[in-house]
């Protein structure tokens, strides 16, 4: 048990370290003036004295190892730097944006997992049957859709053409509303981005659920259950699914990274004020510190979700409880 977690935590610590170190070295190793990269092109207009002062403020006047240690210490303290373009501490900006991204990706992951696993199990029952082939074909198609394109079409149809949903944002700005009205307002704004993100991320779960069900359905006890004359639904969802859950849980965490990426373009289309939209704005404005901090923030969220999922494994599958030692190898 402990060995498993120590191995996993080591891996996640490594991921975070890689992300932070990349962030540190990117502006300093790129051709061009690191000060301009960190504080904006305007620094080229400053007098030498002002620039020197700016260097000191960003911390670029110190030797590289000292900068690195300071950088790490700041990150641990939750200080992600300063955006000179937005004139705000980046941590503040991120904390404003993060809840929206969590709401969007969290809900979408939940829906796509439940739907994907159910349909994957149903498809696996008769491999190559009509249901399997049409579901498989359908999901390969869904997976091939560019998320932002689906979003643009949904806006054009449901928001502009038929005016059922709002075209942009996460809630109606400048409006005073009762809490229940506000909730409805937020859900109405969430509907289209959520649909978009779910459409493009559901097939990952479906495919893996189908694969792992296929593997499980070949086992003896399934034949026994069939021989007993149990109903398809009972065999699938009470006997087989339970044993297929672990790979599905693994994929859930892998899908996280995928969903977060999808959220970046989806939020962009809907001007949804999450971290993804922030990334887009930062690309357009070449606001590198914000871009870096967004990447780091998303990495932290993904790692945290992975840790939660790892803690849930043993609850899902007694084999993990019994055989933790085997899985700790990292293979």
């Amino acid at each position: 048990m402990t060995g498993f977690f120590v191995g996993k935590l080591g891996q996640y610590a490594l991921v975070l370290w890689v992300a932070v170190t990349l962030n540190f070295f990117l502006p300093r190793m790129m051709p061009g003036n690191p000060l301009a990269l960190l504080a904006g092109e305007e620094v080229n207009l400053l007098t030498p004295e002002q620039r020197q002062e700016m260097m000191a403020r960003v911390g670029l006047d110190q030797p590289l190892p000292v900068q690195y240690v300071n950088y790490l210490v700041n990150i641990v303290r939750g200080d992600f730097g300063y955006s000179y373009q937005k004139n705000k501490p980046i941590t503040t900006i991120l904390l404003d944006r993060l809840p929206w991204t969590l709401l969007l990706t969290g809900t979408s992951l939940l829906i796509s997992t439940v739907l994907g696993v159910t349909l994957g199990a149903l498809a696996a029952w008769k491999r190559g049957g009509r249901r399997d082939v049409s579901l498989l074909g359908g999901f390969i198609f869904l997976e091939s859709l560019p998320a932002f394109w689906v979003g643009m079409l949904l806006v054009a149809l449901f928001a502009v053409q038929w005016q059922i949903f709002p075209t942009y944002g996460a809630m109606t700005p400048w409006a005073t509303m009762a809490p229940d009205e506000r909730l409805v307002d937020i859900l109405r704004h969430l509907a289209l981005p959520l649909t978009t993100l779910t459409i493009v991320s559901i097939s990952g779960t479906f495919l893996v659920a189908r694969y792992s069900m296929l593997a499980v359905l070949g086992d003896e006890y399934i034949n026994v259950a069939r021989a007993k004359g149990l109903k398809e639904r009972t065999i699938l969802f009470r006997h087989a699914l339970r044993n297929a859950l672990l790979p599905i849980a693994t994929v859930f965490t892998l899908n996280l990274a995928f969903a977060v990426g999808g959220a970046t373009v989806v939020e962009t289309v809907f001007s949804y004020p999450g971290v993804g939209r922030l990334t887009y704005e930062a690309v357009l404005n070449r606001d590198y510190p914000v871009l870096q901090a967004s990447f780091l923030m998303i990495t932290i969220v993904v790692v945290a979700a992975n840790i939660v999922a790892d803690m849930l494994y043993p609850l899902l599958d007694p084999r993990v409880r019994a055989g933790q030692a085997r899985t700790s190898g990292g293979g």
């Binding site: 996640y12 491999r127 498989l136 394109w149 296929l214 070949g218 990426g261 690309v283 993904v302």
Partner: protein, 325 residues
């Protein structure tokens, strides 16, 4: 039985037809396109007409011509990035599967790290630093998506290592490197090809996403870049989405579907885990007898189906095979 496998192949055939059409379009772009897509050949924001079948964009370039030439850029970036990813993935998979010492363990650790890092935000970050060029997109995408193929290849290597012909070449005293290159590599090549096709469907989408976020090369517009401008000019708030947004995204989708269908057809035929579990639905063909003559063993390796007699369960509880992207 034959009916079942035909149906599965039918999806693969559909993929081939789709992709074939798009490749032809890219190859013959200068014959097919009515205009040079970089020239201003009309007024801005024209609706479709006989002169401009899909209207014009925000500065008066012909959208239909952009669409046709876009195939070149999108396919080029996608295919090259996938190639980079598969070369890295196959190398890592081979080494990690065959050298099970510290090198193998270290490589798998690296694979795990790369798999956890949210790749799109990192690609965005790197592409923003490197600047807008199609080569930068190729590098950034290729360098970040090799981990899944590496895992798949590694599982295959693990099962190949136990085959008789590999053991045989070891018994006759072949060196490790020779075994790796002459006996094991041929056995993973077709799987690597399937992974390449699947990876390409992913890279086309990733390129589109990155370009849509404004990281594409504005002088060589891919489909993603076309949509970036459509988004920036709010085409989807006007009627222009019908000719500007809809066809462009459809091209991306068809290309990705094409690659994905071919890749799936290949993978279903190659994946040992699936083949073994198929006993109920479709009875598999009898496995060809393996060569037991050690002298000829390595020569027969490539032609031997990968799928015949492979152990089905990986030793750990995790999936080694994650399916497609």
């Amino acid at each position: 039985m034959i009916w079942h496998s035909l149906r599965r192949n039918r999806l693969g055939m559909l993929g081939l037809v789709l992709l074939g059409g798009i490749v032809l379009m890219a190859v013959f772009a200068n014959w097919l396109a009515p205009y040079d897509p970089s020239k201003l050949t009309g007024q801005p924001f024209e609706s479709p007409s006989a002169a401009h079948w899909l209207g014009t964009n925000d500065i008066g370039q012909d959208i239909f011509s952009e669409l046709i030439y876009g195939a070149r850029v999108s396919l080029l970036i996608g295919v090259l990035a996938a190639a980079i990813a598969i070369v890295i993935g196959t190398t890592v998979g081979l080494l990690a599967g065959y050298r099970q010492g510290p090198l193998g363990a270290g490589l798998m650790r690296l694979v795990d790290v790369v798999l956890v890092i949210p790749f799109l935000p990192l690609m965005v970050l790197l592409a923003a630093y490197l600047g807008q060029s199609i080569w930068n997109l190729v590098i950034v995408i290729g360098l970040l998506i090799w981990a899944r193929p590496a895992r798949v290849i590694r599982s295959q290597v693990l099962s190949l290592t136990e085959r008789d012909y590999v053991l045989a070449s070891r018994v006759v005293g072949a060196k490790d490197n020779r075994i790796l290159v002459r006996a094991i590599l041929p056995g993973v090549l077709s799987l690597a090809l399937a992974q390449f096709v699947l990876a390409a469907s992913g890279t086309i989408l990733l390129e589109a996403s990155l370009s849509f976020l404004g990281l594409g090369d504005p002088t060589q517009k891919s489909w993603g870049t076309i949509l970036f401008y459509a988004q920036a000019r709010n085409a989807f708030l006007t009627g222009a989405w019908l000719w500007w947004v809809l066809p462009t995204g459809l091209m991306i989708t068809l290309t990705v579907v094409g690659f994905a269908l071919i890749g799936f057809a290949m993978e279903e035929a190659l994946n040992p885990r699936l083949k073994a579990s198929r006993a109920i639905a479709v009875s598999s063909k009898p496995a060809p007898k393996k060569q037991s003559n050690p002298g000829r063993a390595t020569d027969t390796a490539p032609s031997e189906p990968l799928t015949s007699t492979v152990r089905t369960t990986p030793s750990s509880g995790r999936v080694d095979k994650i399916g497609a992207e």
